[in-house]
Point group: C3
Chain length 109, copies 3
Protein backbone atom coordinates (compact mmCIF):
# COMPACT_ATOMS: atom_id res chain seq x y z
CA UNK A 1 0.00 0.00 0.00
CA UNK A 2 1.21 3.50 -0.84
CA UNK A 3 -0.11 6.98 -0.32
CA UNK A 4 0.02 9.05 -3.48
CA UNK A 5 -0.29 12.82 -3.11
CA UNK A 6 -0.91 14.54 -6.43
CA UNK A 7 -1.24 18.29 -6.96
CA UNK A 8 -2.92 19.20 -10.24
CA UNK A 9 -4.48 22.29 -11.70
CA UNK A 10 -8.15 22.88 -10.97
CA UNK A 11 -8.97 22.71 -14.65
CA UNK A 12 -7.75 19.11 -14.82
CA UNK A 13 -9.18 17.89 -11.56
CA UNK A 14 -12.69 16.96 -12.65
CA UNK A 15 -11.46 14.83 -15.48
CA UNK A 16 -9.01 13.11 -13.16
CA UNK A 17 -11.72 12.50 -10.55
CA UNK A 18 -13.87 10.83 -13.18
CA UNK A 19 -11.04 8.59 -14.26
CA UNK A 20 -10.33 7.57 -10.68
CA UNK A 21 -13.98 6.66 -10.13
CA UNK A 22 -14.07 4.68 -13.37
CA UNK A 23 -10.92 2.78 -12.42
CA UNK A 24 -12.13 2.19 -8.88
CA UNK A 25 -9.33 4.27 -7.38
CA UNK A 26 -10.37 5.92 -4.13
CA UNK A 27 -9.20 9.50 -3.99
CA UNK A 28 -9.83 12.26 -1.47
CA UNK A 29 -9.73 15.81 -2.76
CA UNK A 30 -8.30 18.86 -0.98
CA UNK A 31 -8.70 22.39 -2.17
CA UNK A 32 -5.27 23.98 -2.26
CA UNK A 33 -3.53 27.07 -3.53
CA UNK A 34 -0.14 28.32 -4.32
CA UNK A 35 3.13 27.44 -5.81
CA UNK A 36 4.40 30.58 -7.55
CA UNK A 37 1.23 32.52 -8.21
CA UNK A 38 -0.32 29.56 -9.95
CA UNK A 39 -3.97 29.92 -9.22
CA UNK A 40 -6.18 27.30 -7.63
CA UNK A 41 -5.04 23.75 -7.67
CA UNK A 42 -6.42 20.53 -6.27
CA UNK A 43 -4.58 17.98 -4.19
CA UNK A 44 -5.59 14.34 -4.39
CA UNK A 45 -4.72 11.83 -1.67
CA UNK A 46 -4.89 8.29 -2.98
CA UNK A 47 -4.38 5.09 -1.04
CA UNK A 48 -3.40 2.39 -3.48
CA UNK A 49 -1.98 -1.13 -3.60
CA UNK A 50 1.70 -1.28 -4.58
CA UNK A 51 0.95 -3.06 -7.84
CA UNK A 52 -1.38 -0.28 -9.00
CA UNK A 53 0.96 2.66 -8.34
CA UNK A 54 2.21 2.82 -11.94
CA UNK A 55 -1.33 2.70 -13.27
CA UNK A 56 -2.36 5.64 -11.11
CA UNK A 57 0.76 7.61 -12.07
CA UNK A 58 -0.05 7.01 -15.74
CA UNK A 59 -3.58 8.32 -15.23
CA UNK A 60 -2.31 11.48 -13.55
CA UNK A 61 0.31 12.05 -16.24
CA UNK A 62 -2.12 11.46 -19.07
CA UNK A 63 -4.77 13.80 -17.67
CA UNK A 64 -2.76 16.55 -16.10
CA UNK A 65 0.67 16.83 -17.72
CA UNK A 66 1.93 20.24 -18.72
CA UNK A 67 1.12 21.12 -22.31
CA UNK A 68 0.78 24.06 -24.60
CA UNK A 69 -2.57 25.49 -25.52
CA UNK A 70 -3.51 28.31 -27.86
CA UNK A 71 -5.42 31.11 -26.23
CA UNK A 72 -6.71 34.35 -27.66
CA UNK A 73 -5.72 37.08 -25.24
CA UNK A 74 -8.52 39.48 -24.28
CA UNK A 75 -8.33 42.46 -26.61
CA UNK A 76 -8.59 45.23 -24.03
CA UNK A 77 -5.42 44.16 -22.25
CA UNK A 78 -3.35 44.58 -25.36
CA UNK A 79 -3.45 48.27 -26.06
CA UNK A 80 0.27 48.65 -25.52
CA UNK A 81 1.12 45.83 -27.90
CA UNK A 82 1.10 46.48 -31.59
CA UNK A 83 -1.37 44.67 -33.75
CA UNK A 84 -0.01 41.13 -33.27
CA UNK A 85 -1.96 40.87 -30.07
CA UNK A 86 -5.20 39.83 -31.70
CA UNK A 87 -3.69 36.46 -32.65
CA UNK A 88 -3.92 33.44 -30.37
CA UNK A 89 -0.82 32.84 -28.24
CA UNK A 90 0.55 29.62 -26.89
CA UNK A 91 0.35 29.28 -23.11
CA UNK A 92 1.33 26.43 -20.85
CA UNK A 93 -1.47 24.75 -18.95
CA UNK A 94 -1.65 21.72 -16.69
CA UNK A 95 1.24 20.16 -14.89
CA UNK A 96 1.22 17.83 -11.93
CA UNK A 97 3.47 17.34 -8.91
CA UNK A 98 3.27 13.86 -7.46
CA UNK A 99 4.67 12.25 -4.30
CA UNK A 100 4.55 8.52 -3.59
CA UNK A 101 4.86 7.93 0.15
CA UNK A 102 5.55 4.71 2.02
CA UNK A 103 2.98 3.85 4.68
CA UNK A 104 3.38 1.70 7.76
CA UNK A 105 -0.23 0.87 8.38
CA UNK A 106 -3.43 1.18 6.42
CA UNK A 107 -6.86 0.70 7.98
CA UNK A 108 -10.45 0.91 6.92
CA UNK A 109 -12.89 0.96 9.78
Amino acid sequence: MKLIIAIVQDKDSNRLSSQFIEANVRATKLSTTGGFLRSGNTTFMIGIEDERVDEVLAMIKETSHAREQFMTPPVNLDVTMDGASAYPVEVQVGGATVFVLPIEQFHQF
Copy 2:
Protein backbone atom coordinates in the same frame (compact mmCIF):
# COMPACT_ATOMS: atom_id res chain seq x y z
CA MET B 1 6.72 9.78 16.14
CA LYS B 2 4.22 8.98 13.38
CA LEU B 3 1.93 11.00 11.18
CA ILE B 4 -1.59 9.61 11.13
CA ILE B 5 -3.87 10.75 8.31
CA ALA B 6 -7.49 9.86 8.94
CA ILE B 7 -10.38 10.54 6.58
CA VAL B 8 -13.77 10.39 8.28
CA GLN B 9 -17.27 11.49 7.43
CA ASP B 10 -18.23 15.04 8.37
CA LYS B 11 -20.97 13.77 10.66
CA ASP B 12 -18.37 11.99 12.83
CA SER B 13 -15.71 14.67 12.82
CA ASN B 14 -16.92 16.84 15.68
CA ARG B 15 -17.17 13.94 18.06
CA LEU B 16 -13.69 12.79 17.03
CA SER B 17 -12.27 16.31 17.49
CA SER B 18 -13.68 16.42 21.02
CA GLN B 19 -12.13 13.08 21.88
CA PHE B 20 -8.76 14.18 20.55
CA ILE B 21 -8.86 17.32 22.69
CA GLU B 22 -9.89 15.35 25.76
CA ALA B 23 -7.05 12.86 25.21
CA ASN B 24 -4.53 15.61 24.51
CA VAL B 25 -4.00 14.46 20.93
CA ARG B 26 -3.10 17.33 18.64
CA ALA B 27 -4.97 17.10 15.38
CA THR B 28 -5.18 19.44 12.42
CA LYS B 29 -8.36 19.35 10.36
CA LEU B 30 -8.64 19.65 6.59
CA SER B 31 -11.89 20.01 4.74
CA THR B 32 -11.97 17.41 2.01
CA THR B 33 -14.35 15.86 -0.47
CA GLY B 34 -14.71 12.85 -2.59
CA GLY B 35 -14.20 9.18 -2.78
CA PHE B 36 -17.06 7.78 -4.84
CA LEU B 37 -19.71 10.42 -4.47
CA ARG B 38 -19.46 10.30 -0.73
CA SER B 39 -20.31 13.77 0.36
CA GLY B 40 -18.16 15.96 2.57
CA ASN B 41 -15.54 14.34 4.68
CA THR B 42 -12.89 15.62 7.03
CA THR B 43 -9.23 14.71 7.05
CA PHE B 44 -7.30 14.79 10.30
CA MET B 45 -3.52 15.02 10.42
CA ILE B 46 -2.20 13.83 13.75
CA GLY B 47 1.40 13.82 14.93
CA ILE B 48 1.71 11.22 17.67
CA GLU B 49 4.34 9.33 19.63
CA ASP B 50 4.84 5.72 18.51
CA GLU B 51 3.48 4.31 21.75
CA ARG B 52 0.15 6.15 21.36
CA VAL B 53 -0.58 5.10 17.76
CA ASP B 54 -2.84 2.21 18.80
CA GLU B 55 -4.75 4.43 21.19
CA VAL B 56 -5.44 6.96 18.45
CA LEU B 57 -6.46 4.23 15.99
CA ALA B 58 -8.90 2.87 18.59
CA MET B 59 -10.43 6.32 19.03
CA ILE B 60 -10.92 6.73 15.29
CA LYS B 61 -12.40 3.24 14.93
CA GLU B 62 -14.73 3.68 17.89
CA THR B 63 -16.04 7.06 16.73
CA SER B 64 -16.13 6.71 12.99
CA HIS B 65 -16.43 3.07 11.94
CA ALA B 66 -18.97 2.11 9.30
CA ARG B 67 -22.28 1.09 10.78
CA GLU B 68 -25.90 0.72 9.86
CA GLN B 69 -28.48 3.29 10.84
CA PHE B 70 -32.21 3.39 10.34
CA MET B 71 -33.43 6.37 8.39
CA THR B 72 -36.91 7.34 7.35
CA PRO B 73 -36.71 8.33 3.70
CA PRO B 74 -38.38 11.65 2.86
CA VAL B 75 -41.92 10.91 1.70
CA ASN B 76 -41.98 13.06 -1.41
CA LEU B 77 -39.12 11.16 -3.01
CA ASP B 78 -40.98 7.88 -2.80
CA VAL B 79 -43.93 8.37 -5.09
CA THR B 80 -42.73 5.67 -7.46
CA MET B 81 -42.34 3.12 -4.68
CA ASP B 82 -45.36 1.34 -3.37
CA GLY B 83 -46.40 1.83 0.20
CA ALA B 84 -43.37 0.24 1.89
CA SER B 85 -41.49 3.46 1.45
CA ALA B 86 -42.89 5.08 4.55
CA TYR B 87 -40.95 2.67 6.77
CA PRO B 88 -37.44 3.42 7.98
CA VAL B 89 -34.68 1.85 5.93
CA GLU B 90 -31.22 0.76 6.98
CA VAL B 91 -28.37 2.82 5.50
CA GLN B 92 -24.65 2.65 6.05
CA VAL B 93 -23.04 5.66 7.69
CA GLY B 94 -19.56 6.43 8.93
CA GLY B 95 -16.42 4.67 7.86
CA ALA B 96 -12.83 5.81 8.17
CA THR B 97 -9.73 5.44 6.01
CA VAL B 98 -6.52 5.72 7.97
CA PHE B 99 -2.85 5.91 6.98
CA VAL B 100 0.03 5.70 9.43
CA LEU B 101 3.13 7.29 7.93
CA PRO B 102 6.74 7.11 9.07
CA ILE B 103 8.39 10.47 9.63
CA GLU B 104 12.05 11.35 9.54
CA GLN B 105 11.95 14.53 11.55
CA PHE B 106 9.41 16.23 13.78
CA HIS B 107 9.79 19.79 14.99
CA GLN B 108 7.84 22.26 17.03
CA PHE B 109 9.07 25.80 16.76
Copy 3:
Protein backbone atom coordinates in the same frame (compact mmCIF):
# COMPACT_ATOMS: atom_id res chain seq x y z
CA MET C 1 13.70 14.48 -2.03
CA LYS C 2 11.54 14.96 1.06
CA LEU C 3 8.00 16.08 1.70
CA ILE C 4 7.81 18.71 4.42
CA ILE C 5 4.42 19.34 5.99
CA ALA C 6 4.36 22.52 8.06
CA ILE C 7 1.39 23.82 10.05
CA VAL C 8 1.69 27.49 10.93
CA GLN C 9 -0.68 30.15 12.19
CA ASP C 10 -2.60 32.10 9.57
CA LYS C 11 -0.98 35.33 10.69
CA ASP C 12 2.46 34.00 9.75
CA SER C 13 1.51 32.28 6.52
CA ASN C 14 1.74 35.20 4.10
CA ARG C 15 5.22 36.11 5.20
CA LEU C 16 6.28 32.48 4.91
CA SER C 17 4.76 32.19 1.43
CA SER C 18 6.73 35.21 0.31
CA GLN C 19 9.96 33.77 1.63
CA PHE C 20 9.33 30.48 -0.14
CA ILE C 21 8.76 32.28 -3.43
CA GLU C 22 11.89 34.37 -2.97
CA ALA C 23 13.95 31.26 -2.22
CA ASN C 24 12.43 29.32 -5.09
CA VAL C 25 10.82 26.78 -2.76
CA ARG C 26 7.62 25.37 -4.20
CA ALA C 27 4.93 25.16 -1.57
CA THR C 28 1.28 24.20 -1.78
CA LYS C 29 -1.06 25.75 0.77
CA LEU C 30 -3.99 24.07 2.50
CA SER C 31 -6.48 25.85 4.66
CA THR C 32 -6.73 23.99 7.95
CA THR C 33 -8.17 24.38 11.40
CA GLY C 34 -7.81 23.01 14.84
CA GLY C 35 -5.39 21.82 17.35
CA PHE C 36 -6.78 22.82 20.75
CA LEU C 37 -9.04 25.72 19.86
CA ARG C 38 -6.24 27.47 18.06
CA SER C 39 -7.98 29.39 15.38
CA GLY C 40 -7.22 29.20 11.68
CA ASN C 41 -3.94 27.80 10.60
CA THR C 42 -2.34 27.07 7.27
CA THR C 43 -0.64 23.88 6.20
CA PHE C 44 2.17 24.00 3.67
CA MET C 45 3.23 20.96 1.67
CA ILE C 46 6.74 21.39 0.31
CA GLY C 47 8.64 19.02 -1.93
CA ILE C 48 12.33 19.70 -1.49
CA GLU C 49 15.73 18.21 -2.28
CA ASP C 50 17.43 16.54 0.70
CA GLU C 51 20.20 19.10 0.83
CA ARG C 52 17.74 21.99 1.21
CA VAL C 53 15.69 20.52 4.08
CA ASP C 54 17.61 22.41 6.77
CA GLU C 55 17.29 25.66 4.88
CA VAL C 56 13.50 25.27 4.64
CA LEU C 57 13.25 24.32 8.32
CA ALA C 58 15.23 27.45 9.23
CA MET C 59 12.86 29.60 7.19
CA ILE C 60 9.82 28.12 8.92
CA LYS C 61 11.38 28.51 12.36
CA GLU C 62 12.47 32.08 11.73
CA THR C 63 9.08 33.18 10.40
CA SER C 64 6.66 31.23 12.51
CA HIS C 65 8.20 30.24 15.84
CA ALA C 66 6.21 30.79 19.02
CA ARG C 67 6.95 34.13 20.63
CA GLU C 68 5.47 36.60 23.05
CA GLN C 69 3.72 39.72 21.89
CA PHE C 70 2.19 42.56 23.83
CA MET C 71 -1.48 43.09 23.17
CA THR C 72 -3.89 45.60 24.65
CA PRO C 73 -7.01 43.65 25.59
CA PRO C 74 -10.27 45.19 24.38
CA VAL C 75 -11.65 47.38 27.18
CA ASN C 76 -15.21 46.14 27.21
CA LEU C 77 -14.17 42.58 28.01
CA ASP C 78 -12.44 43.64 31.17
CA VAL C 79 -15.20 44.95 33.38
CA THR C 80 -14.64 42.21 35.95
CA MET C 81 -10.92 42.92 36.18
CA ASP C 82 -9.73 45.81 38.28
CA GLY C 83 -7.96 48.68 36.63
CA ALA C 84 -4.86 46.78 35.54
CA SER C 85 -6.75 45.57 32.51
CA ALA C 86 -6.08 48.67 30.46
CA TYR C 87 -2.40 47.78 30.25
CA PRO C 88 -1.03 45.64 27.43
CA VAL C 89 -0.62 41.98 28.28
CA GLU C 90 1.85 39.47 26.91
CA VAL C 91 0.30 36.73 24.77
CA GLN C 92 1.90 33.90 22.88
CA VAL C 93 1.56 33.98 19.09
CA GLY C 94 2.98 31.90 16.29
CA GLY C 95 4.28 28.39 16.61
CA ALA C 96 4.83 25.80 13.94
CA THR C 97 4.49 22.02 13.79
CA VAL C 98 6.65 20.43 11.12
CA PHE C 99 6.93 16.90 9.74
CA VAL C 100 9.66 15.77 7.36
CA LEU C 101 8.49 12.68 5.45
CA PRO C 102 10.48 10.25 3.34
CA ILE C 103 9.19 9.78 -0.19
CA GLU C 104 9.65 6.85 -2.52
CA GLN C 105 8.96 8.58 -5.79
CA PHE C 106 8.68 12.17 -6.93
CA HIS C 107 7.32 13.15 -10.33
CA GLN C 108 6.59 16.29 -12.23
CA PHE C 109 4.47 15.77 -15.29
